[in-house]
Amino acid sequence: MKALIYLLKTSIINYLKRIKEKPQRSIGIIFTLIWVGVLLLPRKNSSKNDIPLTVCVSIFVILTLITFLFSLYSGTKKVKSKFSMSDVNLIFVSPIKPQTIMLYGIVKKIALEFFTSIYILLQITNVIKNLKITPMAQILFFISYIIFQLILCNCLKLFVFALCSKYKKVGFIIRSFIKSFILVLAALITFIVVKGDIKSFAVKFGETLTYNSLFKYIPLFGWMREIALQTITGVKSSYFVYIILITALSLLLIYITYSMKLDFYEDMLSSAEFNEDIKNVKNSKISSNNNKKGFILRPFKFKNSELNLKEKYGAKVLLFKHMDEYSKRSFIFFVNTYSLILLSISIVLGIFAKSMDIKIIFIIASGLLLFTSGFGGKIYNEIYNYFIFLLPDSPQKKLFYGIASSLIKIFSDAVILFVPFGILGRKSILEILLCIICYIVWGGMLSYSGLLTFRIAHALGFTGQFATAILFMIFQLLLAIPMVLIILIFTFLLKDFAGYAIYFAFLLYGVAAAALISLGCIGIFDHMELE
């Protein structure tokens, strides 16, 4: 235990020391604090529609139930631990009780999940702001939520995991129970909907959940109901009893799990390896696309497709290599899952929103491209490998062929997005073509700007993926501002062609910016250090 306490204590102290030595490392924290600060800024209470008490409490209880069932279910599968390979190699092999290491793992998980929970907590703030809840009650509610979500649910997952490790059938029983429960619930809801009185049922159900006096005696759900109710109506002394009860339940689960003789190291190995890969990707030691396990969701295994480089030499091989990679992970040509999503959107809008101006789709798609095209291109995998640096060809050609496949992909997606909608909505052919061309130009410009951002970020010492991503977002937004100004200017100047001003603006700005930015990107191939 002493060793683990030493490890945790020293890690925290050294983390703070590191930030002092290299202030760039604090960019993530600063960004998070700014974001939290913005979320906490006082807002004008929209008093027109106060949320009814029964709705709030019912939703909260249902969410508690969903979270509980989810924790039960995920405990029957492999628990996603926060152990790293250094824990495996140094701590797992040490003469420390596995149960103690298990506790260390829970503490680590809770600490790391705490920050992701803040976002959910702050959304709750937005909701309860409308209910005029006292600051004290808000704080108590946060504490209750943290104890339930972070501590109890993680303890429950671990307890179920331990049970399933010891008794093989338990996992099957729990999963079957949950699936049956969902089926029965779905059948019941369908029956009520068919009967036609869903609204009155929902109201009655909400009132029962909120006001039924016996409900509070149901362990956990009843306690959480009381916590939600008292947060809104007024905190009583029993509030603290419920918090203690939830904490006690967590401790009981921990104690039972601790008492079980567990041999869980092997089950933690795969998540430790995964966490190690995530850490290496974050620190840019490997590219996420290089990882053999694959971080990018793919619906199927790689297709068998042979790389054909006949008569292709120099930097040109990059283009054909990328095309082969796209084809291996796509259904056909460059059409992958993302393309199918775009196709569905295009067809749905074409059927149900025919009258929508195609420009709106173009603007939204371009806005999305602002964030997706930057690091989505194949060139970002290449700059983590030696290959492109050793390739004996000019940097201009490397840049051109390196990005060319991204342009083809963007073209393919543009056709899939704009053509079906254009046909179904009977838009002018000229406008459809302009959308496609401008989308490609815009995507090309963003690909170059993403590469330039990468170079600038590394030059400034921001080597982590998170820091680079933040810089990238800021840079892309800055790029978008002149575009907006140019659109306004063109709309004003081209009175007769005001409808096409946006396209001219995109074309002019995109081509000019891409040309300028690409000059800054050429130096990226001089050496791998990027400083």
């Binding site: 002493k2 060793a3 030493y6 020293t10 050294n14 790293s84 250094s86 140094l90 040490s94 003469p95």
Partner: protein
């Protein structure tokens, strides 16, 4: 010192290790060799207590997963992985605490100087090169004064001086009575050290023989390996 009896390990339907038995006595160096996928890493990880398995593994008479068993074991993994927020010296302090080693500072200094890490002792785990991480990993295993040492590819990533130091250290530990299991593809690197050869293929031992059982026939480890693994 290290006794492995009827060790079997399945990954799903695949039997990675099939009913393996061997003993490594105090002061012996056993070399575990075999083609890729033979099951060497599975055996090493099973002995280190990282995997569930069938059979029995005892370290100095204690179950390998017991506290006493683990106290006697040192493990040098193939791929070093250090805590990014701990310095090299803090790693050694951590291991000393974990293994209840008192007054480890002198031993830590000796090890760090031996592997040219003394001037880098305040460097964080995340700032070390692969070779330095490997050396630090070795120091972490040795600070605990193990009775049984598991070494997975010990020379990988080391500079020539460190390789020489590593060999000398293994000989020294052997002479001090430590039972050592070395898993390696670089058979030449352990030619002077070995006392027992364990060659694996498809999860089984195709050869388990002590050096003195070779009846004065001089064969290099490489020759022995190819003799028993080539079809």
């Amino acid at each position: 010192m290290l006794e492995v009896s009827k060790l079997s390990k399945n990954y799903g339907k695949t039997q990675a290790v099939k009913n393996v038995n061997f003993t490594v006595n105090a002061g012996e160096v056993a070399v575990l060799a075999g083609p890729n996928g033979a099951g060497k890493s599975t055996i090493i990880k099973s002995i280190a207590g990282l995997l569930k398995y069938e059979g029995k593994i005892e370290i100095c008479g204690y179950d390998n997963k017991s506290i006493k068993g683990k106290s006697a074991l040192g493990y040098i993994p193939e791929l070093p992985s250090l805590f990014p927020l701990l310095t090299i010296s803090e790693h050694l302090t951590l291991m000393a605490h974990a293994f209840n080693i008192k007054n480890h500072e002198k031993r830590a200094e000796e090890l760090l100087k031996l592997f040219d890490l003394w001037d880098k002792k305040d460097k964080y785990g995340s700032d070390l090169s692969k070779g330095m991480q490997q050396k630090a990993s070795i120091c972490c295993a040795l600070i605990t004064e193990p009775k049984v040492l598991l070494v997975d590819e010990p020379m990988l990533g080391l500079d020539p001086k460190a390789i020489r130091n590593m060999k000398e250290l293994l000989i020294k530990l052997k002479n001090e009575g430590v039972a050592i299991v070395v898993s390696t593809h670089l058979l030449d690197s352990v030619q002077e050290l070995w006392d027992r050869i364990l060659i694996m293929k498809n999860g089984e031992f195709v050869l388990s023989k002590a050096r003195n059982e070779f009846n004065n026939e001089f064969k290099s480890l490489e020759e022995i390996f190819f003799e028993f693994t080539e079809e």
